[in-house]
């Protein structure tokens, strides 16, 4: 029997240009490098977008807000606090004040803590200055908490804000950052920073290092997506991998080797979870920054941080493919609250003026 003739000469024949290295426009013009494929959904202007993940995820919020999208912020500062203080306290950096969620284990436990299915043994870490920190976001309050009770009260507010974000959002953008994490042996609590770095005391009998593998990352991520959809079935997901190398590794080897392992694991896990879930895309911010098409020019002088040009490249493509926006994306200062007239600030202003009146009148009126 003669072999049935194939319609194509070989499997690569007739495939789109993007599948061929030499046909990539970025070879000659870095700015034209666009590795983003077909997206499975659009982001509409009124879609409520929540972001979380490593520090690279902060850029998404800043650019989305500036582009007129509905970046959902559910943890807002009290009107007494000035915009500067609110920014210092990390309001508006992410949708709620969870700080950097570096690992999928952290994401999973954030959800578990928010919905009361996980109550870690340790609730507060002592700081070197005598104040206290929340072990799950140890740098969220630069001045520190004044007592473990304050940590607890603020955490209750925070976790309520996390629940609102989960239940109100339309799109969740999560940036996978690290595989290396520190946990409490007793209950498995995963911390964003090793105990003792910013607060707490490192104890080898209690704390242990974990370097998550592909299976663990994918399992935590899938669990998180399933949990979110169990609370909010319509959520669409965008997964990205942070291109920022590890700052340090806990393993006795070069940090560059650990970085390669970590990013490879995260990238594979993101691929697996994307493939297994509808309306769940992988967005190649990692590739845009690290690919040789961009010639390593997007790394800052420390070869770790990402230059603003790189972030703009990533976010311009993000907005182009998900929102049909053209041109360069621009960041904005995170807005932690709506720009509505504020009663409290007006009252404080009036109070100040009237207190002055009382102080002036004191010399006349309080003579009894």
């Amino acid at each position: 029997m003669p072999e049935r003739a194939s319609r194509r000469r070989h499997p690569y024949a007739g495939q789109p240009d993007r599948q061929f290295w030499r046909k990539e426009p970025g070879l000659n013009d870095m700015a034209r490098f666009d590795p983003v494929g077909a997206t499975s959904f659009d982001i509409e202007r009124d879609d409520k977008v929540v972001t979380a993940g490593s520090c690279f995820a902060q850029h998404v919020a800043r650019f989305l807000a500036n582009a007129g999208f509905n970046f959902l912020v559910t943890e807002t500062p009290h009107p007494l606090l000035s915009d500067k203080i609110a920014a210092d306290l990390n309001y508006g950096l992410f949708s709620a004040r969870y700080g950097n969620v570096y690992s999928t284990r952290q994401l999973r436990q954030l959800l578990e803590r928010a919905y009361g299915t996980f109550a870690p043994i340790v609730g507060a870490w002592r700081r070197p200055d005598g104040r206290w920190a929340d072990p799950f976001r140890p740098q969220i309050l630069p001045g520190g908490y004044v007592s473990p009770l304050e940590v607890e009260h603020d955490r209750e507010l925070h976790l309520a804000a996390v629940r609102r974000a989960i239940e109100e959002m339309s799109v969740f953008v999560f940036t996978l950052g690290l595989t290396e994490t520190w946990t409490d042996r007793r209950d498995g609590a995963a911390y964003p920073l090793a105990p003792g770095v910013a607060a707490g005391d490192y104890d080898e009998d209690i704390h242990c290092f974990v370097n998550l593998d592909v299976g663990q990352v994918a399992e935590d991520l899938q669990w998180s997506l399933d949990f979110i959809r169990s609370r909010n079935p319509g959520v669409k997901f965008i997964l990205t991998v942070s291109p920022v190398p590890l700052n340090a590794t806990a393993i006795d080897r070069h940090v560059a080797v650990s970085t390669a392992y970590s990013k490879a694991v995260l990238r594979v896990a993101a691929e697996q979870v994307t493939a297994a879930n509808a309306l769940c895309d992988y967005f190649p911010s990692y590739e845009i920054i690290t690919s040789s098409f961009t010639r390593s020019t997007y790394y800052a002088d420390d070869l770790r941080e990402i230059r603003s040009e790189g972030v703009k490249h990533v976010m311009s493509l993000f907005l182009k493919h998900y929102a049909g926006a053209s041109g360069d994306a621009q960041p904005s200062v995170p807005q932690a609250r709506a720009s509505t007239p504020d009663i409290t600030r007006e009252r404080t202003r009036k109070s100040e003026a009237l207190m002055q009146v009382l102080c002036d009148e004191e010399a006349i009126d309080n003579a009894l």
């Binding site: 009290h78 007494l80 606090l81 630069p142 001045g143 304050e150 603020d154 404080t348 109070s351």
Partner: protein, 232 residues
Amino acid sequence: MSENAPTAVSTLILGESHCTAISRAIVDSGETNLTAIDVRVGAGPSKINEELFANLNPCRLILAFGGTEHNILGLVEAEPRFDFIWPPFEDFIGDRCLVPASALEELLAWRMHSALTRALSVRERFSCPVYALAPPPAFRVVDERAKLPSAFNDLLAAGIAPGTVRRKLYAMQCDLARAAYAKEDITYIPAPPAAVDEDGYLLRALWNKDPTHGNRTYGRLVVDHLKDVLDA
């Protein structure tokens, strides 16, 4: 500036509105070792009339500047109503919005900065030992005897914050002032212990119509307290 020879005084208290009650108490009691001057007289708000003390040469200087900043932040209810933790006061009204204490600290420190600057500018003129005096403690409640200017009506409609919240703001102000003055080698003198009730509120007999300032009876307590502290 006066060109007369400096006048020696034992203890000189320089400050603003909270000096008034002390000044009156000194006059009432015929104290000769204490002199209290409201440095704003003839100078206007937040200004210092240096002529008032240019010719005085005290053995001890007590600064009583500012002091109502905690009331600006917390006398009138904010929207939403807030509470915070400030050890040893760990009480918290459950249905209120928590504001992190360290954020309030930053806010209050910013508000106190102006008075601190004025106090330190006055201090520069003297080489004697220097102390700083705490303002009157927070009152418990506003009652029918209190009478604030009618301009306050709009604010009062929002409500006066609970004493527990105002007491913590007062404590925070004192802690911030103590720390700031300590950096300048200035000893901080708290309000007289006899001026407060068992919960730390200013006794009702020590203020009249205006709950943010002590009356002359309070001034008398301060005078006695200063003598106790300084002579100890």
